[in-house]
Symmetry: C2
Subunit: 443 residues, 2 copies
């Protein structure tokens, strides 16, 4: 089987561009309308994309005066999308810093049942300070967040394994519903969590949801190399992408994992036009709608320095790289400004489209060229597609870029499987509590 | 407007009878199949019922060897039901003892958006000890659980109010999305919680989900009288039902509330036959499928005394009434056994159908008589309908009992509203942060 691209539709309100809500091709009133997201999921499924992906935070991030914020919670939303789709994967972001593993394990098991095996979990550690304040806490240190994440994931995995695959007997006549020898208390007792188990939801179609990781700090990469099956990342240049890709794949071996057990999926925001001029016009339209005050506030949070309008036409001030927030994103932004000698205003323009993710404007062929280049040159196993405006940017991608990728033999014409793991080409994990089976020998 | 019944379909796996999974009219393999629940929701909506209601606990309760346990998580499930229905309310049980108010407020706001204003929250305090063990905790004392519940609800209400109704401006040309003067940090700092807010989901169609309470201890009733808009309760006799009803309605005044601001909804499990004989035969079929070991274990947990098979044909041993568990349910069970002089085996038979809720076998007319009697004699404003088997018991209720109630003028022919509050006849709460409006005076 030849290697194929994996593509997720990264959904964000009415588009990833921070001025999307002001563009005539969007309807910001649909931000809390489930039909908007159902339409997006159906478009993505029409394009045979692997999944729809929802980011999340547990605080109101950014200045809502100037952007369409305040949308829906991912897990409840994805259930409603499961109900109107059949094949597409459903990946929700849930933080390990402000949650309990029992609840998280159960909700993903439930979503996996509801979707027939299409659930995925983007495991994040919540870099923002505002989030801690909604839970009566101070934001834990970066290392502590990842330590908690590691134990958190261990507990959820045990819970998903707590019902073996064949635990349910279903003998109605004999009155024997389940084999309690195959439903296990997990008796987890660790530094952060003490959880007895078992889970009170039976083992789900995928066994475990697909496990995704999205932090690119040293701790984040180590976590990904040990545990994740896909990594979402922001990489600006091919060289950076290749370095990140090689780094992650190299780390896998140390944990006894094969290179194909982890997919590296950078984000990309494609600004699509039927001609290059049309694409550049759309890019310019969006740029003209940017409100500098909004981006300045975002950039201040990201870099940890207070930036005002006075700073706009000067270079980015010095920024320390050590931080307890999102380490990799801060580094990316500072590197970008330095490398290209950008003023703050120019930097804001570059960040407005994808918050640090790569933005590419062009024709469907040009977009396909970019994806192909990264894919064939070991910078990506696929991509998180971040349409600048929604639904238009997604339907343009599905209608014009996907066929181009299919013709080039880079992308599927039909889903290979009904589960997200199946379409990602990943195995279904066995329960750790199951007795090893005798291997049948073919004679 | 004449007073009308309110009816919820209390959904539980393949039926409320503990032997439902063994009955030929059920399919226990559908326990984790979303289509089973979607079918149930559609049946209930066809019958114009007010809502579907899902109970929940965060531990595997009961002996799964002998019962079909391990189903889906309510909030994820209800989102998937919202997607295939238009009018029916969606009430999920969520505990205040092992959750964080920010998450709970957000998920209900999200469900309320997704369903177009049909979300309800059954607020419980988790009486079981096993639940605490899944969160590294000892079960808090009864009074402490209710104290936490009170503050928890206060925080969620503030969060739901944190976006005023008219906070979203949506001025695309001017670049003004929301009026930040109408989105409020809640700055809650109490004994159990410190939450800054605002919520990161905009105010939902109902403002707050419908608030339901389901504990009938002294603390539970006080909580309900202060905060709840509906009370689910288990009452065995008309006299008990009347006493409970009068008690609750009386308490409302002390909190400045009108009697019609809280609906009292006892549970009832109707065993329906086209003749009385047929109903009794179904009851007997289910009784014959009971596994005493299962009920014994349940009763042991409920009463706090270890009961073995030896105890079956003797009266229930002495049970102390003070407990840190579910106070009102223990009292109900002990009273029932004493009042009717039941042996343990007989008591198990009585509990198998409805776990302490009233079970009534009969023709549609006889069932309607029972509902009418309680409704007209101030024992109920409506009922939680607990079909012994599902989906059959629910479709029988909808197809035969509902028309009988409609003909008698006791139940709606059409939904009055699109929201759950609307159908319950309850007001939409205003945001506490909104400036008082000038009242327009009609001239
Ligand atoms: C594509 C992508 C999506 C992300 N989505 C989220 C998100 O939804 N919520 C969140 O808290 N962090 C999100 N992150 C951030 C990281 O997961 C991580 O929490 C943060 O960057 C800190 O980790 P680091 O220091 O290892 O980079 C995302 C990152 C990437 C690359
Ligand atoms: C109809 C009904 C449904 C209930 N559903 C739940 C439930 O789903 N989960 C739960 O933990 N408790 C449930 N309860 C129990 C109570 O809400 C409460 O937690 C328990 O009875 C202890 O409160 P009490 O001591 O005030 O009775 C239910 C009670 C009734 C009457």
């Amino acid at each position: 089987m030849t290697r194929k691209l994996h593509l997720n539709a990264f959904l964000m309100g009415v588009g990833h561009h921070e001025a999307a809500w002001r563009h005539p091709r969007t309807e910001p009133a649909r931000l809390t309308d489930v039909r908007h997201y159902q339409e997006l999921a159906r478009i993505a499924e029409r394009g045979k994309l692997d999944s729809v992906f929802l980011a999340d935070g547990v605080a109101l991030h950014g200045n809502v005066r100037h952007n369409a914020l305040g949308g829906l919670e991912p897990l409840t939303l994805l259930s409603a999308l499961a109900a109107v789709t059949d094949h597409i994967g459903l990946i929700a972001t849930v933080s390990t810093t402000y949650n309990e593993p029992f609840h998280v394990a159960r909700k993903f098991a439930s979503l996996d049942h509801i979707s027939g095996g299409r659930a995925g979990w983007n495991i994040v550690t919540s870099a923002g300070e505002a989030e801690a304040r909604n839970f009566g806490l101070e934001r834990p240190a970066h290392a502590d967040r990842y330590a908690r994440a590691t134990e958190f994931l261990e507990v959820t995995r045990k819970l998903w394994d707590s019902w073996e695959d064949d635990a349910i007997v279903g003998d109605r006549v004999g009155g024997h519903y389940a084999d309690t020898g195959k439903i296990h208390a997990i008796e987890h007792a660790g530094e952060h969590f003490a959880v007895r188990g078992p889970l009170n939801t039976a083992r789900s179609p995928q066994g475990h949801p697909l496990l995704v990781q999205a932090g690119s700090s040293e701790a984040g990469k180590e976590f990904a190399a040990r545990h994740a099956e896909a990594v979402f990342t922001a990489q600006q240049t091919l060289a950076e992408g290749q370095e990140f890709y090689a780094d992650l794949k190299r780390r896998l071996a140390a944990h006894g994992r094969r290179a194909d057990e982890l997919l590296v999926l950078p984000g990309i925001s494609p600004i699509i036009g039927s001609t290059e001029r049309e694409a550049l016009r759309l890019e310019k339209e969006l740029e003209d709608l940017i409100i500098p005050a909004y981006g300045l506030a975002q950039l201040s949070t990201m870099t940890g320095i207070e930036l005002t309008e006075d700073a706009l036409d000067r270079p980015l001030p010095d920024v320390s790289v050590e931080t307890e927030g999102a380490q990799s994103r801060r580094k990316l932004v500072v590197d970008l400004a330095r490398r290209e000698g950008l003023t703050v205003r120019q930097l804001l323009g570059r960040l407005a489209g994808g918050r640090g993710h790569r933005v590419v404007a062009g024709t469907p062929e040009q977009i396909a060229d970019q994806l192909q280049e990264w894919f064939l040159n070991e910078a990506a196993d696929g991509f998180n597609i971040m349409p600048p405006i929604l639904p238009g940017g997604l339907s343009d991608f599905v209608d014009y870029v996907v066929p181009e990728l299919q013709v080039r033999g880079l992308f599927r014409y039909e889903y290979e499987a009904r589960t997200l793991r199946g379409n990602y080409g990943l195995e279904r994990p066995a329960s750790r509590y199951a007795a090893p089976r005798e291997v049948a020998v073919a004679r």
